[in-house]
């Protein structure tokens, strides 16, 4: 190990300590609204993209927007596009959603259901540190719900994703009669006591199962307390009825469109009223592109059919993939615009909201995961500077050639930059140290102002 490497590590460690004090920094950068909280949003897009069109060809500030990114033209200065990001050890395959925010190369799954525990995902890592400040530690949502999620807890278990728009909204606006909360509190007290009594009667392996119950009860108690303490500062004008279709069914075209838009709006509302500061939306599984049925083709099949071939061999399939990509970036643009047009102090909400957008897959046919399509938007308040296309690991834009070189990952050197580095950077800018997170080696100072 070279001494140069050591010094850089030491430097980063030192900077990590600094970053652990976001308040100081915020006060230092003076004119920011005194109490605008910092937030992080993770938007997972399944099944990769049309890689021939996604990545810009040129780098730096003046890069040319590619077709899928044109939807974001109005936000050009507010986001960064990346090339060359990937996990270092974790290979491609069916577990890409579970790896996206964890970078855990040892994770194994069968049919998208985990068989080995994962490691903690970055959203939960951040939520673990700052989640106590809000009513909800984090907001984990997705169309398929349950164990189909990108979020994993400290034990590596999937954090069940919520899918029920109406319930989320009801909890968000506090539709539950408030009078009920103290009663809920006493009910939870009672069953927590029962569980404690039960522990003594059970064997070791049962205790672990019961612990899940006890933890859940505790989380629920915390939530009840937070709900009780929560003064209804909710401003009704924040709700735009036409943006919410709470009955949208993700499995039913054309509601799928409404489902995604409504969910994004709910995320926006949750952030806006400071109900949570961390949100992860894993739209749906890569093998179940239900939300996109209205496009007239199955994105998953289309991805396979493209065969990761040369563009002229599969023009129709790649055109369809582009359609799906553009559909997603349009949703993203809408969401970012909502944040940007919401004033918060002297700035807008986007300035205090770091949004990571992308897929855990690049070429869809073979489920490859090198050169992931990733965008980072907002969060200037915590020090991100945008408007560029940044290239890591010497990645070049894929040019079709007969040797099919696009199918191979770039050779990674010992100082390769990984997806985990980006996740860590987000976490540390949020004030949550994440040294050694996943496969991370350093903080990506390239992104900072």
């Amino acid at each position: 190990m070279s001494s140069e490497f050591l010094t850089r590590r030491r430097f980063l460690k030192a900077s990590g300590v600094c970053l652990a004090l976001p308040w100081l920094e915020r006060f230092a950068s003076a004119k920011d609204a005194a109490d605008a909280p910092n937030r992080a949003v993770f938007l997972f897009v399944p099944n990769g993209v049309n890689m021939w069109e996604w990545h810009p060809a040129t780098t730096g500030k003046d890069y040319e927007l590619t077709p899928p990114l044109r939807n974001l033209a109005g936000l050009r200065d507010r986001f960064t596009a990346f090339s060359g990001l990937q996990h270092i050890k974790a290979g491609g395959g069916h577990q890409e959603a579970a790896l996206w925010l964890t970078g855990n190369p040892n994770y194994a799954s069968k049919k998208e259901i985990y068989v080995t525990p994962n490691t903690i995902s970055i959203d939960q890592h951040i939520a673990g540190a700052i989640g106590r400040q809000t009513r909800w530690p984090s907001m984990v949502v997705g169309a398929d719900g349950g164990q189909y999620t990108c979020s994993f807890d400290a034990e590596g278990r999937p954090v069940l994703a919520d899918f029920d728009l109406a319930s989320i909204f009801a909890e968000l606006v506090g539709a539950d009669p408030k009078g009920r909360l103290p009663q809920r509190g006493s009910i939870l007290d009672l069953v927590a006591n029962q569980a404690a009594g039960l522990r003594r009667e059970l064997g070791k392996s049962d205790e672990r199962k019961l612990d899940e119950y006890v933890e859940s009860i505790r989380a629920l108690e915390k939530r009840v307390q937070a709900d009780m303490a929560w003064k209804s500062t909710f401003r009704r004008e924040a709700i735009q009825d036409d943006r919410l279709n709470l009955r949208a069914d993700p499995h039913n075209t054309p509601d799928g469109v409404d489902f995604v838009d409504t969910m994004l709006e709910l995320i926006y509302l949750a952030l806006r009223i400071d109900c949570t500061r961390v949100a992860a939306f894993s739209a749906y599984r890569s093998s179940q592109c239900c939300v996109l049925k209205h496009l007239g083709f199955d994105v998953h099949t289309e991805g396979h059919n493209s065969g990761d071939a040369l563009p002229e061999d599969k023009p129709k399939h790649f055109a369809n993939l582009s359609k799906a990509d553009a559909w997603w970036t349009e949703r993203l643009a809408r969401f970012l615009d909502r944040l940007r047009t919401t004033r918060e102090g002297e700035h807008d909400m986007l300035r205090h909201t770091t949004v990571l957008y992308g897929s855990g897959m690049s070429w869809p046919a073979y489920h490859r995961n090198h050169n992931l399509p990733i965008l980072l938007a907002g969060g200037e308040g915590v020090g991100f500077a945008h408007g560029q296309h940044i290239v890591f690991n010497g990645q070049r834009k894929d040019i079709p050639n007969d040797k099919q070189e696009h199918r191979n990952a770039t050779k990674l050197g010992p100082d390769a930059v990984s997806m985990s580095d980006l996740l860590r950077t987000i976490s540390e800018r949020m004030g949550v140290p994440a040294e050694g997170f996943g496969e991370s080696r350093r903080v990506l100072t390239e992104l900072l102002a």
Binding site: D164, V191, L198, L210, Y213, L246, A365
Partner: protein
Amino acid sequence: MTRESRQISRTSVGAFVVAWSCVVAPLQAGPADNDAHARTFSLVVRPFFQKHCIACHGAEKQEGEVRFDGPLPDLVEPKLAEQWLAAKRLMAQGEMPPKGRPRPTADELTPVLAWIDDAAARAATITRGGIGRRALRRLTPREYVNTSLDVLGLSFPHFPVDLSRRLPQDSAEDNFSNDSNQQSTQPLLLRRSLDLAEQLVDVALPEEPHLGPIRYEVDVREFAAKAAAKLTKPQYNLVAYRDDVPAAGDGKPASLSLVGRWSGPNNGRRPLAVTRLDAKRGILLAPNPVVIGNAMECLTLKLPLVPDRGVLRLRVKAGAIIPAGETAPVLRVSIAREFVIVPVGELVVTAPADAPAEYVLETPLALADADWKGIHRDGHLELQVDNAAALVEPALRAPDDKRKEGEIPLPTRNELLVSSLAVEVVETPPRSPHLLASAREGESDRDRARRSLEAFLPQAFRRPARETEVAAHLGLYDAERARGASFLSAYKAAVTAALISPQTFYLIEPKDAEQRPLTAWELASRLSYLAWGTAPDEVLQARAADGSLLREDELRRQLARLLDDPRSYALCREFARQWLDLDSILHLDQATVLDRQTINQKEDIPRYEAVLRRDMVEEAPRLFEELLRKNRPVESLVGCEIVIINDRLARFYGIDVEAVRREPPGHQFRAVPAPADRRGGLLTQAGCIAAASHGRERSEILRGVYLIERILGIDIPTPPGNVQPLDVQLNMDKNLRKLSPREHVEAHSSVNTCAVCHQRIDPLGFAWDQYDLFGRLRRDKAGKLVAANTSGQLPDKTPFTDIDDFRRRLIEPPAERRPTPRFTDAFSRRLYAYVLGRSLDHGDDAHLQSIHAAAARAEGGLRDLLTAMVLSKPFRHK
């Protein structure tokens, strides 16, 4: 490099899982027995390994990083267990010692293999902590909902909402959702369960009435007469006629509207009149084709107030006109607002239109998933009554049919006659007598609460409640009262707490120092959740209370009683649907009806599709139920002279049901003699073939995987992430297109890395070659059957020529040198895993042996097998 090594390790894990066989292993584990086990190791096993194995797997060389020169191995260590079981399998198959090394004799080998089996079984028992033991099992979402409804005594048979869908589901594609090791409990689940428990308790114990009595009665015949007099010309407008309905007591009038078109000319899509007015009989509603949005043909009743709690009770005098070959109409009640209709009640009407009968439909308004906020804003509740029957078969255009839309008459449809309608909202639904003791004179509220809890808690906890538990819940009641809550509100808190208590949430079987038999109460719960998926009923509780359930004869009797009850369909449904992954077909993208074939009535198709798919999902559980009830041999699951179908499936299969018609026709499943192409039991059901085909035309390999995993019970490792489905490969590689499907698949299984598994998988899938992706016989465009080459082979190379031969091979006893498990073994392992609520391991082989023996001593039927499983030690022991 990393990717390669990962694949290798996956393959070897998979190979290890495959290795299970049926050598009987003794299971007692006393200290003396442990000595014998160790002695056999040093006297027999170690010398054997020294002679045959150590040269390559010893101190000097460790081929494959495996060595066998250590001391007595403890197979609790999973890595060691894997090595030893792999060694056992390879030796049994004669692959080890490798070619060129001296072969051990059978006499040498047998005791060594038996010893490894014994060691593995011991380890499995230790790991589990007991022979019957499973980790603390939580109720599945469906069991939780059933339990809550049952202990509260609520029953809404016509309420079409599956409340369990409101809880996050356990994803268990390969295991059963009752497998305790796969379940996880998280805040979201508990939160939703608490929400639901609160709602259900609110329904069962309503607080003081919030609205006056609500009752409206209409004689629809009068309404029809008035409408017919007014409507002389054809109408197309949405609300064609409206009339006031006075309240039966005090209160503002409601209004009844007739929505739809009748006597109208062709509106471009639907050429004929559909709703008929009959002053003598009432209004005749044709099936409403609209799935989402405003109904086309319906009656709407607009109440001038918004009851959002209580139970809506609808009394309808209704009859049915059912043309030959059609199903009975379905009366559906929905809450409508703007373009959203939320169904809240459905019932099948079978009384003839000449003699309409009174039907009563009850639905809990608070549980309806309606937009209550918006409804309150509107200030009235709009109920919609329509006919929600799906067609038995949509009218299809033949390929050479040149007629245009409108020229082809609509198929005859059923009609729902509504001749009178009465709506009332009752506050208190029928509920369990244990839920709330009626007040006694001179008794304090607190004593009443105590008395009620003493009766209720045992229902929820499924065992007698301890005094401390009653006291704890009463403490909650006291605390609530002290906070100023009313009696009912405080008592409801105590009941809600009981519903999400760990005692209700889990099947609790406390530990003991020693392995122990279950108590009668624990056994009653296991039995009841197995057979009915809910808490024990009163009879079972009585047998648990007097302990008689612990006697074998009583256990048999109770099991028989539970299985004879129609509620045992819960067992058939949950087991068969999960085992065969049937729910997956509900979401397949492909349609059974091709768009170009439909005529006139495209809007009928979505509903027909949805209902047909539900029928497909139901067929396998219904067959299972029939075979279980009749105690037919296990083999009949894959070879049966009957099919259990309804009219819709009969049409789908092309079976003439007129010949075997039984009243009432249509939606009900019944036994019908199987035609030649449907004699394979589960194997020739559309549901299984569709689930195996994953909506792909070319699905030989997917079908092979389905057959090998689910029917033959051989676990296959996950393929690497970069594998393409067959039809995709075809699209990608022009050369492949020149090959026949069979050559293509064979090319695939000849690739080296894939061959290990695919040589076993691929030849299986051809058994279904004559069936298309939805399990219909494959036909060409002219409707002629396509010749299929259905020959293939089982993983042990037993050849078969077609599906009939395949299923015969499945059930023949395996030959000596062919270790491939056959269907009955695979099936009983699956069933036993479901029965025990945990995945099986090596320690269970011996129990399965004795279960098979016990079942064979009886008549060897499905019911005998299930009985033997329930009587087996692991089911009755902790």
